[in-house]
């Protein structure tokens, strides 16, 4: 497991400087919010039949103490690969982290020895996934799996681990936790399994929680329960949360800040209110406009949705210039030639668009 590491980012580009400018502004707005996790210039490639593709390109963001930062985008945009790369959890090969740093507690997770990283994973930085069935061991009881985390990371005895596990299951509102401790994952519903995953992730009180589409596989009434639980636990335990999702409704309900990704790159970053009211990237604007929204007002007529024309380009065949240009109604000649850097658009807001000033001041 080797991560090629360039600590000074020798090709310090416009992206880098724009990024630090953005951070300074955001830092002023919320004074004293030191990042608990700082991602700098992260790039991850995959070897494919079509050649090497960059699934994540020069990705930078800060995750601040106690906040929920959403990373949003459509399939293949790099949001999950970017999150998995933080803990070096991508399969290598075919994957390879080719550049960047992930600063956590004064150390770069990308250069840490595997043994040191193992101590951080699960204890200080925990993850929950979309499908708990793939993350839970089907032949071990719930009690054994939650207890194992405590025994491994905190060195608790079997009895202490049992007691703490029951308490954690109760905390994630699993009814009859003592009985559930002796059950196997397949005996639980999807919603209950996701609660077990959350219990396992939070039982060591991690600093950072990475939640990768945690409610995507769940029905809407169960999703509401899990989102509610995650909000309560964050208020209670204070873990900074990196929420990976494709659902802008979930973003609006959960996040304080948002990173929007397209074709492997961050194209916009903004406080959540700003993103929904004054997006500065045409892709964000298009996503907001094309989404069918529940509009329960009487007299609301059936109408066509706004479309983003075309499809996401394949990563092995990205156009020169801005990757969104072929689908963008604002694109000009320069967009097809030259990739736009991330520039500051307002307090805490960055966007990578040459024509950001042409966008409507208020989102439709």
């Amino acid at each position: 497991m080797t991560a090629t590491h360039t600590d000074a980012m020798p090709h310090a580009t416009a992206l880098q400087s724009a990024n630090s400018a953005g951070r300074a502004v955001a830092g002023d707005a919320v004074a004293g919010d030191a990042p608990v996790l700082r991602v700098q210039g992260l790039s991850t490639s995959f070897a494919t039949r079509e050649g090497t593709v960059r699934a994540v390109a020069e990705l930078s963001y800060d995750l601040r103490r106690g906040e929920t930062l959403a990373v949003v985008g459509e399939s293949g945009c790099g949001k999950s690969v970017g999150a998995l790369s933080l803990l070096r959890l991508i399969p290598q090969p075919p994957g390879r982290i080719t550049a960047g740093a992930v600063w956590y507690g004064g150390r770069d997770l990308l250069t840490l020895p595997e043994s040191a990283l193992r101590d951080i994973r699960g204890r200080e930085i925990a993850m929950i996934f979309q499908e708990p069935m793939t993350a839970l061991n089907p032949v071990l009881t719930i009690g054994r799996q939650v207890g194992e985390v405590l025994r491994r990371h905190l060195g608790l005895s079997r009895r202490e681990a049992w007691a703490r596990s029951v308490e954690m299951l109760r905390r994630v509102r699993i009814p009859e936790p003592e009985r559930r401790m002796g059950e196997y994952p397949h005996q639980l519903s999807g919603g209950m399994r996701q609660r077990v995953m959350i219990a396992m992730a939070l039982v060591c009180r991690p600093q950072v929680l990475i939640a990768d589409e945690p409610t995507t596989a769940l029905d809407v009434t169960i999703q509401a329960q899990i989102l509610d639980l995650m909000r309560d636990l964050q208020a209670e335990l204070g873990a900074a949360t990196l929420l990976i999702t494709h659902d802008l409704g979930v973003v609006a309900e959960m996040a304080q800040r948002v990173v929007v990704m397209y074709a492997g790159r961050k194209v916009e970053e903004a406080p959540v209110g700003t993103l929904f009211t004054r997006p500065r990237h045409p892709y964000t604007l298009g996503l907001l406009a094309s989404m069918p929204r529940l509009n329960r007002a009487p007299g609301h007529a059936r109408h066509r949705l706004a479309e983003i024309p075309g499809t996401v380009p394949p990563l092995h065949d990205l156009p020169p210039g801005c990757a969104f240009a072929p689908r963008c109604t604002y694109a000009v000649e320069r967009c097809r030639r030259e990739a736009p850097p991330l520039t500051e658009q307002g307090p805490g807001q960055l966007a990578a668009c040459w024509e950001a000033h042409q966008l409507p001041e208020v989102a439709p």
């Binding site: 029905d219 989102l227 309900e253 094309s290 007002a297 007299g299």
Partner: protein, 347 residues
């Protein structure tokens, strides 16, 4: 009712001169489903003894008029997809009738279903799983024309090219294989295949659920355009309330194999009557941070197993309003207001 809705949404009747696959009744809905049940036996032991029944669809009534969209909405396991497949007789019903253009198709032997398969088509959620990977896109779209002996040789090729253009694909892509298309394009191939036989009704089973939001909008618009131009009716099965509100004229809500509420789109979303419908609507995340709920989930608990549904109202264990009678008596689906049906003792 359907006439009024048809006018309201600008839906025109079937254009003249279009061949009808099945005898068209002068009056009455295009599709009428009465008391439809689909039970799956649960077998146990080495002799496969039947030890129970999963009541996937437990007696539903619905109608779809020409040119309209009925949204059938519910969470996973509520029976909405099984209902769609049973209506088409891809699954054999346990009880009930399915009437297509005035003719009950439930007693017909399978070989006599072919003309009705022309009237009723289906598109699926997973466009990849429902397209033969070894056939070209052109051959996939041409196949129903061959089965129904509708066009031959050059005429068939031209018809397929027309269908490609109609769904927003290029006829140049007819020689490509399914894996060479994106998810949204594959769904377009599925739609072209369904359109090939000029159906009057398409059962669309979660057709946009697997698609990204920017592509989802394209496919929803395509379905609405096809309805406006060709007068096709849709039974639109989905778990996504925002999509259902967007596309439907009328909506039926399913819970544990039963329809619990059924009315016009406007009534259902603005003035829902059933507590389950209210909970569903409340649970949808609002894509507006200024309005974000940020507190509480509308209902607690999980959906009960359809193998052992609770007595009384199927929703009572999760219902915040439940009273003693809800635990004992199954509430019938009743017309609580003109055109607004709900199965609730308390509303």
């Amino acid at each position: 009712m359907s006439t009024a809705q048809g006018a309201q949404s600008g839906v025109r009747p079937q254009p003249a001169g279009q061949p009808l696959a099945a005898p068209q009744a002068e009056t009455g809905p295009l599709l009428a489903v009465r008391g439809l049940k689909k039970y799956f036996p649960v077998r146990e032991g080495i002799f496969g003894r039947v030890t129970g029944q999963v009541r996937a669809v437990d007696g539903i009534d619905l109608t779809v008029a020409a040119g309209e969209t009925l949204g059938l909405v519910g969470e996973s396991g509520c029976g909405k997809s099984t209902a769609g497949k049973t209506i088409l007789r891809l699954l054999e019903p346990t009880a009930g009738t399915v009437t297509v253009a005035g003719r009950d198709i439930t007693p017909l032997p399978r070989r006599d279903l072919l003309p009705y398969r022309r009237t009723l088509q289906i598109i699926f959620q997973d466009p990849y799983g429902s397209l033969n990977p070894r056939m070209t896109a052109g051959a996939i779209v041409a196949e129903p024309l061959a089965i129904h002996r509708l066009a031959h040789g050059q005429a068939r090729r031209e018809r397929v090219a027309d269908l490609f253009r109609r769904v927003g694909l290029s006829p140049d892509q007819m020689g490509k294989y399914p894996h060479e298309f994106s998810g949204g394009q594959r769904q377009r191939i599925g739609i072209a295949r369904a359109l090939a036989v000029e159906p009057q009704l398409i059962i669309a089973d979660e057709p946009v659920s697997a698609l990204d939001v920017s592509i989802q909008a394209q496919v929803i618009n395509l379905l609405m355009d096809l309805q406006a131009e060709l007068g096709i009716a849709f039974l639109f099965i989905s778990h996504d309330l925002a999509v259902v509100e967007h596309i439907s004229h009328r909506v039926a809500v399913m819970y544990l194999g039963r329809i619990v509420e059924h009315t016009t789109r406007e009534q259902l979303f603005a003035r829902p009557l059933h507590p389950y419908t209210e909970a569903l609507l409340e649970a949808v995340p609002v894509p507006d941070p200024a309005l974000a709920r940020g507190h509480g989930a509308p209902v607690s608990g999980d959906v009960p197993s359809p193998l052992a549904p609770p007595p009384g109202c199927p929703f009572h264990p999760r219902c915040p309003l439940a009273e003693p009678q809800c635990r004992e008596l199954v509430p019938p689906l009743e017309e609580k207001a003109p055109g607004h049906w709900a199965a609730c003792h308390l509303r």
